[in-house]
């Protein structure tokens, strides 16, 4: 079995296992929704070397697009989801096109500034977005003959979409396009010199990432019945990025781990102690200092430590982009 199939199998196992171990269908859906968003973020960070602080833009706009469509039109659910994916892709193309004009830290700062721009845009146009209150009472219509009203029925719908998108992202990552992204990540100058249209590749990666994130945002709005302002704010971008890095940027399944960890731990801790973000902040520092390959790296080490641990067969499909000895120009 090759690595991609193994990772897909692991993702499918997660989707099947969540209902067995979790009592809340809402929380289980949230895990898979953020797993999509984190995997899309990983396509940029892990595969293209672009640290985007703007993923919340696409997530939030996806929420608004789906919410507005379902509130104001009688279009079917599937079309609302497609519209939110298109919204994510179009805006990500624009943000990507502008942001990649600068490299390294400037790029990161630009994506963060854009996330502020879209936050204030949503905040300013209260008539459309509902401002601080968000878009309320978003319906969750049936898809074909299947009612999605019950939380586990909705979970099943989310799980199917999650697996489809996961497989699609894996196809993208292993295609010639995906391989070229790795070349861009590892040595942009060389990729350019060979003759690859590096700019177009980066913008395409942004568009794909934006589409998946927009769809995830739409699914989230349908899940909670609201498209809140917090879906487009700084902390949404930050959370998606944190999930991605905590999981590890070596492969797409790592993002599923990262999202699962973040969503479940935040649910557990926030009910015990509302200021749990303090611990999260500490955890980020620990990850940076001691766990640079994230949870996936930890898992790898565990498997290798097992007596019958299969050597290397579980290794990540791509080398970690983040090598401590590099000079830090890799973003």
């Amino acid at each position: 079995m090759n690595r991609a199939s193994l990772h897909f199998l692991l993702a499918a196992l997660v989707a099947i296992a969540l209902p067995l171990f979790m009592r809340s269908g809402t929380l289980a859906s949230e895990v898979l929704i953020f797993a999509m968003a984190a995997a899309a973020c990983n396509l940029l960070l892990g595969y293209t070397g672009l640290l985007s602080f703007g993923q919340g833009i696409f997530f939030g706009l996806g929420s608004y697009a789906a919410g507005l469509t379902l509130l104001h039109t009688s279009l079917p659910l599937a079309l609302a989801l497609v519209l939110s994916a298109i919204t994510g892709a179009v805006v990500a193309t624009g943000v990507g096109w502008l942001s990649i004009r600068r490299q390294g830290v400037y790029f990161v700062m630009l994506t963060l500034a854009f996330s502020q721009f879209f936050y204030f845009l949503a905040y300013t146009f209260k008539d459309i977005t509902g401002g601080d209150n968000g878009l309320l009472n978003i319906p969750r219509p049936a898809i074909g003959p299947f009612s999605l009203g019950e939380s586990w029925a909705y979970y099943a719908f989310v799980a199917v979409l999650f697996l489809l998108l996961f497989a699609a992202l894996q196809r993208v990552a292993s295609s010639t396009f995906g391989r070229t992204l790795l070349a861009v990540r590892d040595n942009e100058e060389r990729a350019r010199a060979i003759g690859f249209p590096v700019r177009n590749f980066k913008i395409t990666a942004f568009a794909i990432s934006g589409a998946v994130t927009g769809l995830a945002g739409a699914l989230h709005a349908l899940l909670i019945g609201v498209a809140p302002l917090s879906n487009i704010d700084y902390h949404m971008s930050e959370s998606i990025l944190i999930m991605t890095i905590i999981g590890g940027t070596g492969n797409l399944f790592a993002s599923v781990l990262g999202a699962g960890f973040y969503v479940i731990v935040s649910d557990l801790l926030s009910s015990i102690w509302p200021r749990w973000l303090l611990l999260l902040g500490g955890l980020l520092i620990v990850v940076a200092l001691f766990m640079q390959k994230g949870l996936w790296g930890l898992l790898e080490r565990l498997v290798e430590a097992l007596p019958m641990g299969r050597k290397s067969s579980i290794n990540s499909s791509i080398e970690s982009p983040i090598q401590p000895e590099s000079e830090g120009r890799g973003i």
Binding site: L112, I245, L289
Partner: protein, 284 residues
């Protein structure tokens, strides 16, 4: 008259943005380190002044002490933690400083609550200045005056002193500076503390104008990024011009379109990036 009022307001705001951004800029120039915790130092500066004045301490004493406490905390953070991660890629710089910023924000909420509060304008400057038709709060004029003096002092520090020379040389080549027998580790700590202290001072000065709340750090970080993106990272003059520009645009827009004022800042940044990808005065 309202535009003159907003113009002067904008200059005051812009000078605060300059203080905030120039710290970020010189830290990056010397250490090649993106400090996502910069907004947290601004937040701490504001809250220290809030806390001290709530306890009955004189505002001026609080204003003097708060930036130094912030700088001290920054020096400690730099020498205990950040020094260990300079060799790592930027991703980890961002991860660690985002973690720090989160911790500071949550600590602020734990210590002072989620709501925030107001810092009353110090008695001596609570009045207004009247020049014919032009009426202006004295405290805001004081902020403009003080930040101007500080801007000149900082320029002298960077251009006219030995420390400034080391900082500028270090921005070009850290190794070379080390080879000349200069203890670059101490310079790094000093510069980090200076940059953070300036952010803390900006927060302290802003507190009586805008009040304090736990999320002002995130907002300040966004603004500081806009200023350095427009002005060009590592450029003192760039930070000054861009800071003033952003402050004035925001102030004037507050009159024309209050809800959209902050939106316009980010729109302006987009325009600069489109036309001048390197910023107004940026190097490579």
């Amino acid at each position: 008259m309202i535009y003159l009022f907003q113009l002067v307001n904008g200059i005051g705001l812009g000078m605060l943005y300059f203080l905030l951004a120039v710290g970020l800029s010189i830290i990056f120039g010397l250490l090649h380190f993106v400090n996502f915790a910069h907004g947290a130092f601004y937040l701490l500066g504001a809250y220290f002044v809030y806390d001290m004045t709530e306890r009955g301490l004189n505002f001026w004493a609080a204003l003097l002490v708060a930036p130094f406490i912030v700088a001290g905390l920054a020096a400690l953070t730099e020498s205990v933690l950040l020094r260990r991660i300079y060799h790592l890629p930027h991703t980890f710089h961002i991860l660690v400083t985002v973690g720090l910023a989160l911790m500071v924000q949550e600590l602020v909420i734990i210590l002072w609550g989620p709501v925030g509060g107001n810092v009353s304008t110090p008695g001596a400057l609570s009045g207004v200045l009247m020049l014919g038709d032009f009426i202006y709060p004295q405290y805001r004029l004081f902020v403009i005056g003080l930040t101007l003096v500080l801007a000149i002092g900082l320029w002298w520090l960077l251009e006219g002193t030995r420390l400034g020379a080391v900082v500028r040389a270090g921005s070009e080549s850290t190794d070379m500076v080390s080879l000349l027998g200069i203890d670059i580790l101490r310079v790094n700590t000093a510069v980090f503390a200076l940059g953070a202290g300036l952010a803390g001072l900006a927060g302290a000065l802003a507190a009586p104008i805008r009040g304090v709340e736990p999320f002002m750090g995130v907002e300040a970080l966004g603004i500081a990024f806009v200023v350095v993106v427009i002005g060009g990272m590592g450029s003192y003059t760039g930070a000054l011009i861009a800071g003033l520009l952003v402050g004035i645009v925001q102030s004037i827009m507050t009159t024309l379109w209050p809800e959209g004022a902050r939106l316009m800042i980010y729109l302006g940044m987009g325009l600069v990036i489109l036309t001048m990808p390197r910023g107004l005065l940026g190097r490579a």
